[in-house]
Symmetry: C2
Subunit: 491 residues, 2 copies
């Protein structure tokens, strides 16, 4: 294992510099430096790929696989090294370059095409991206003996596959549209007003930091900054989260900070002793999103949490119309079907994900062509959310960046995360008590200790199913998510 | 040349990431991330060194040296590649590691030892650093056929040597102590007061940006931030300068920004077409300092420049006692012998440099041992500045960071820079007109065009002597510096 450990530690060090260069690009970099930065990043990424896929690495992996003295942790470590290596080594360099070019072209053009609602122009580029992603999917599928879409999903959700997703999402589809209808009906009579702007960004930032501190963010090993698109970046030893402030509305940025703090605490509490090896990294995109959604949905939007931070909100932003606790609680739990995924509440959000999943699955498995995406999109929006996007490509199938650079297989992670978060919250409730009471009694530290022990400190030691079984007693089930929505929005 | 160009372009890309990681370390990084950052930087630095000193590089260099088709620019490019390679390849890896360890230990301990005035403790560590630097100097000297100290100075000032420095500094020593005496006498009757604090950092920053804009800093390709020790970092495509603000005194930070802007404009205007090769880099530390000192001393402290920015100062910091133009002009040109080099004015500064040069030269050439540094220091301070540092190690030979990590050979660059700046300014005066008039007539752009053409765009195409000859008609001479000081402080 020693040469492998050396290799992956070097990768960890290089990834540190790449992560910081990406963070700087999004938060600090002046605009004319973009080309020099892109060249520098591409150079080190190429080197990382070359080192990871060098001929001797396969030999090292094969030798390690025959080592009968490995203990369980070392076996898990080897499994994650094998996974990283396989995912990197299987693709021909020429295909990776073609994808990179086509993706950059499609994404670049999309920024204008979306504004112009230009589906024909976008479709022409997207066809090329889809063709190359299909090629990638087939090569990956052949290497692992799976279906093409499963092989792509493996990049984000190791161990997950269409059969499981179809079953989980299929169950959601049986009750979610009806529940959305019921919640909308129930909320129809509520009076909800927007707090009165303006809100100074500096005051919002101070409020955000206070809430991050309450949620245990370690400012000695991370930062909060501003970027056009909020994200959690950096490295586990130095986690950089971002937000953007609107003077018109503080509520989105504040809850965005809560969300990214969930991602950040996972990263900040990964197992230090394996941190430089793949087994020490976060388990999957879905598990990552489960932590941000635990923070945002299970904690952040909980009426008791809003009550807990209401004095902080008043202290930093002052008293104004719409800032009373009852209104904020209603505002932060408002359910309303809409066109845009990123603006959706947690009840309607899975509909946006399911329709994208069904389309990209069929695209990758060859059952759907690019030109038929808009009609599939419109039909699904009508079926799941009762809205039509006919002709409205901009707010329909052209709204997301994911497909422009070929990130097919990612969308399910959002809803897997929501379901995992609800399942973890159910265990917390059983073992520690009602979450509202834990918040009210200032016992959040116990919740974090539970998450640290069951999720954060596990890194990638266990596969996702086993991680969930050990944390909650069973594999992923949609029923906890249903119970959570029922309790929060209908009971 | 092609494989060499590929190699050095890769180095340029890696240096980009290293520069940004260093900048982030000094400006943004939270404190607990220091170890992970140091590991990541060390990894990529090691890789850069390995790639630069790989066996085939010497072959490529030898082949290129026999290529009779190279034009003048290609020959200069090859010369700078050879220099970088030789400087990197000549040292045994074991020595570099030992130096890195000893330097880190000495510097770390120095931070406390300086506060405690603990010369004995510091000397013990410094002896080890000196012993290793002597070893380095001897190896480098053997490789280039020079003396040990010359071989170290070559790292910062290619083409310079002790004979030239002894002659240049020797001339300074004949008239500078007398001139200091005369200036101090002349200024004795002046009333100079400190502007009345406090000065809000945010207002100082806005003022600093306004002055940077006036001096042509390109904010699309660079930034201004805060760090404990001001520097100019980043890469030519993205220059990051820093300062620190004191609420008690805005004047140091403001002039520090002017200084770093000089460094920055050099970097921002290096020749774009060779930028990824050594020949496209800045010529030397002394030439770099000549640009910052041109901005600070020839322009920034010029009474006409202070008059030009006085409305900006008033606009951002308001009217207060001590803020009138006449007082600021006296304050910014005050001459006073003192213990501390970094606080020194431009008249006394060379004394601080000369005494350090004489000590480090003798240390490296074996004519002086560590235990005798304090007495040499005290004798030189008395001789050059009329001050005694006996027993006051903290403000004597322990004040600088340079020797703690073995950066012997750097100090002369400061005064070489001051002399080059004065020589360039004399040519500007001859070719464009009196600098005060150029400032008053808003013709600074002509000065920058002259510097761009004669210095910035030259990169490392010419050796320093030839660069100066083409820019000013002759090699470096101390007489322009003397004339500048005479005109500013005595006429
Ligand atoms: Zn997220
Ligand atoms: Zn400088």
């Amino acid at each position: 294992m020693l040469p492998l450990q050396g290799l992956f530690q070097r990768q960890h060090h290089f990834q540190h510099l790449l992560a910081m260069a990406h963070w700087d690009q999004a938060t600090m970099m002046p605009d004319h430096s973009a080309e020099a930065r892109a060249d520098a990043i591409a150079e080190l990424e190429t080197l990382c790929h070359q080192q990871l896929t060098a001929p001797q690495v396969e030999e090292w992996l094969n030798q390690a696989a025959q080592d009968s003295t490995l203990d369980a942790k070392q076996k898990a470590s080897l499994r994650e090294m094998q996974r990283q290596w396989r995912q990197a080594a299987v693709l021909p360099e020429q295909l990776v370059k073609a994808q990179s070019l086509a993706g950059a072209r499609c994404e670049h053009a999309w920024r204008e095409q979306r504004k112009a609602n230009d589906w024909q122009g976008f479709a022409a580029n997207l066809k090329e991206v889809v063709a190359l992603s299909r090629e990638e999917a087939q090569i990956r599928a052949a290497a692992t003996g799976s279906t093409p879409y499963d092989a792509l999903m493996e990049l984000y959700e190791p161990g997950m596959n269409c059969a499981r997703i179809d079953s989980l999402f299929g169950e959601l589809k049986t009750w979610l549209p009806g529940m959305i209808h019921d919640v909308v009906e129930k909320q129809r009579s509520l009076s909800i007003v927007q707090p009165q702007p303006p809100f100074a960004p500096a005051a919002q930032e101070q409020l955000g930091r206070a809430v991050m501190a309450l949620l245990g963010f370690d400012f000695h090993a991370g930062r909060l900054d501003i970027s056009a698109h909020p994200f959690c970046g950096g490295v586990p030893e130095d986690v950089r989260i971002t937000t953007r402030y609107s003077e018109q509305d503080f509520t989105q940025s504040l809850m965005g900070i809560v969300h990214e703090t969930g991602h950040a605490r996972y990263e900040q509490n990964l197992p230090g002793d394996w941190l430089k090896l793949p087994v020490g990294a976060a388990r999957s995109m879905g598990v990552h999103e489960s932590q941000s959604l635990f923070f945002e949905m299970q904690l952040g939007r909980h009426p008791a949490f809003l009550a807990r931070i209401h004095p902080l909100i008043s202290e930093h932003l002052g008293q104004r119309p719409g800032m009373d606790l009852a209104n904020l609680q209603r505002l932060y739990n408002q359910v309303e079907p809409g066109f845009i995924r990123v603006d959706a509440d947690e009840v309607t959000y899975p509909c946006h994900v399911i329709l994208r999943y069904e389309i990209e699955r069929d695209l990758m498995n060859g059952a759907l062509e690019v030109e038929h995406i808009p009609e599939r999109w419109d039909a699904a929006m009508q079926q799941y959310l009762g809205l039509s996007t006919a002709g409205n490509y901009r707010n329909g199938c052209m709204q997301d960046i994911h497909w422009t650079d070929g990130s097919f297989g990612y969308f399910p992670s959002y809803t897997l995360g929501a379901m995992i978060a609800a399942q973890l919250a159910a265990s917390v409730r059983t073992q520690l008590g009602d979450i509202g009471e834990l918040i009210t009694q200032d016992r959040l530290a116990e919740v974090f200790t539970w998450l640290r022990q069951h999720i954060w400190q596990q890194g990638s030691l266990l596969e996702t199913s086993e991680l969930l079984r050990q944390a909650t007693g069973e594999d992923l089930s949609a029923r906890f998510f249903r119970a959570h929505l029922q309790a929060r929005y209908l009971d």
